[in-house]
């Protein structure tokens, strides 16, 4: 087991193995997620976000750490809690908020909704709302890479609760036996919907303690420190690209809000949220940057530019029309239509 929690030592400072440029990217990515998700929540309160939505407030470091370690062409497979991973791959805030607001400017013009964000041009190969379904699908994308000799890695994100469903087991074994270039990322935020993961799981680390069942190394990391996540991601991607098969990485983190928009999260023990807020990933990372000597002004500039982006996106979405009704029956089949008969 590698509990990759340590800070890089030595005096390389900001120019260590991660470096300044990547660190600013990691920071900015986290802030984009934070601001966009917060905005989604506000828009929901204004009744402008319809249906359900599952936010990643508090879990930004996982999405940023992995996305910033990915190369163009690498593929992300996400869940209904997928806004963060979609934004982290560079999809615009407008397209994401537009989809949540079910407008014509949304990523899928409102046809998929909050739980199914997909942007293939960014490598976001879909967000899946049936627990566990996308783990085997990610295996398939990785199989294609292996078969064709492509060098991309498939990265599959899911929660702690997902480790108890059958598809998890089948995918992990399959990936290990076929030595596929796929990285499974478990975001352990301590809860399934409203039930603590410990109440329904036979082991302490829902993913980590299962790794050995697939001949894999146990990797449990601090999911609130983007540097830690980034390094773990980089190592797993290298392994995958070198043809050495899959990894399973459990990231310990916490969601600041409820499971979905309907959930006030009353089931949490008192003080838990507050404790985790002390380890807020954005705060941790801001401190890291400062500690490494990045000027506060540079940080503030990022914050301001992101806020501007989110404000602009919000306005664009509010102005955007609803989708036209004729898209109701398009794209059922590859010919663009829905004809099941002649």
């Amino acid at each position: 087991m590698a509990l990759q929690n340590e800070r890089p030592s030595g005096s390389a400072g900001l120019n260590d193995d991660i470096g300044e440029k990547k660190r600013l990217e990691l920071y900015r990515t986290q802030v984009v997620i934070r601001e966009a998700e917060q905005r989604a929540f506000d828009l929901f309160l204004q009744n402008l976000v319809k249906g359900t939505s599952h936010l990643s407030l508090g879990q930004e470091a996982v999405a940023a750490g992995f996305a910033c370690a990915m190369q163009k062409g690498d593929l992300s497979f996400c869940t209904y809690r997928g806004h963060a991973h979609t934004l982290a791959r560079g999809v615009s805030v407008e397209k994401v908020l537009g989809e949540l607001m079910q407008r014509d400017n949304g990523l899928m013009r409102g046809k998929g909704g909050s739980m199914h964000l997909t942007s293939e041009e960014h490598g976001v190969m879909g967000s899946y709302a049936i627990i566990g379904a996308h783990l085997p699908i990610a295996c398939g994308a990785a199989w294609r890479a292996q078969y064709k000799g492509d060098k991309d890695v498939s990265v599959c994100f899911f929660g702690d609760g997902t480790t108890n469903i059958g598809a998890f087991h089948e995918a992990l074994n399959f990936a290990a036996v076929w030595k596929l270039p796929v990285v499974f990322v478990c975001e352990n935020n301590l809860y399934m919907e409203y039930t603590p993961i410990g109440d329904v799981t036979a082991v302490k680390s829902p993913a980590g303690d299962r790794a050995a069942a697939y001949g894999l190394e146990k990797i449990v990391i601090d999911g609130n420190d983007a540097d830690v996540v980034y390094r773990a991601a980089r190592a797993a991607f290298e392994k995958a690209r070198a043809g050495n098969g899959p990894s399973l990485i459990e990231c310990l983190t916490y969601r600041h809000s409820g499971h979905s928009r309907a959930d006030p999260a009353k089931y949490r023990p008192e003080g838990e949220l507050e404790k985790w807020k002390l380890r807020d990933p954005i705060k941790i990372y801001k401190d890291r940057l400062k500690q490494f000597g990045v000027r506060p002004k540079a940080i503030d500039d990022i914050d301001a530019s992101v806020r501007q982006e989110v404000d602009d996106a919000t306005e664009a979405c509010k102005r955007a029309p609803m989708p036209p009704l004729d898209i109701l029956t398009t794209d059922v089949y590859a010919d663009g239509g829905w004809a099941w008969r002649n």
Partner: protein, 326 residues
Amino acid sequence: MAEMTYRDAVARGIAQEMTRDPDVVFLGEDVAKAGGVFKATVGLFEQFGPLRVRDTPISEQAILGAAMGAAMTGLKPIAEIMFSDFFAVCFDYIANEFPKSRYMSNGQTKCPLVVRTGNGAGSRFGAQHSQSVENWCMMIPGLKVVAPSTPRDVIGLMAAAVRDPDPVIFFEHKSLYPMKGEVPDGEIVDTLGSAKIVRPGKDATICALALMVPRALAAAETLKSEHGIDCEVVDVRSLVPLDTQTILGSVARTHRLFTVEENPRLCGWGAEIVSIVADEAFYELDGPPVRITTPHIPLPAADILEDIVLPTPQRIAETVKRSLGS
């Protein structure tokens, strides 16, 4: 008599049966301490305790398999599958285990259980959380399948389902949870396999289920008031057993049949009822039997799209009117 929501009727129906019979137990994801993600089972955990009302892992196969094993050996489990779309991850129990074990064992194996689930569209949840999948179950020999449309029926059919010695799939419509209705005090026990004529009429029979019942009723009102067409609306309530007598009897009076279903078009329960009527009451029919369905497409998330995809009162009324040539 009290007014109560369809949502609260679920908890009341379960509580009624758990109070009556200590062998009734209840399991599912987030159903116990949290009272269910639709808040339809609030209070049961507190009332019946952690041994009878149990939270499970996200393991739908384990939930249904465990319910079956318990049912085989003496309990009367009620299992929740949160959204009916998730039947797809535990379909083996629904299609291959529950309904076949008694037959294969030549009558040895019993399976008295209820699977209750949130079915249907209207919440802007998109294609994987909005389906209407009654036909997935109706097509499997050996199951019983019910879908109440009112709070009263929720309680009465729940009681009938729990007391039934066979596996019953119980479809609750998500969009009906907030709907209110009058419910008598005291124990309510209905019977499986009985449809209800919820509006008598003489010009056409409209068969509907669950959320489509209020919509069919609304359409019937419009048809009557605006076009003088007097429709009989049948709340099918139970797909298996199917009350063909009530349906055939109604068609024998009205001579026209319409079915209104939320299933996508192909192989829905509407096709089954149309086929039965076309075969057995062909010479009673004065015109083609017509199905009004959701089109055969995945469901969209956007409100503006979802609002037009299911049969609406307007579409029902227009279809009936056009077909009757008025």
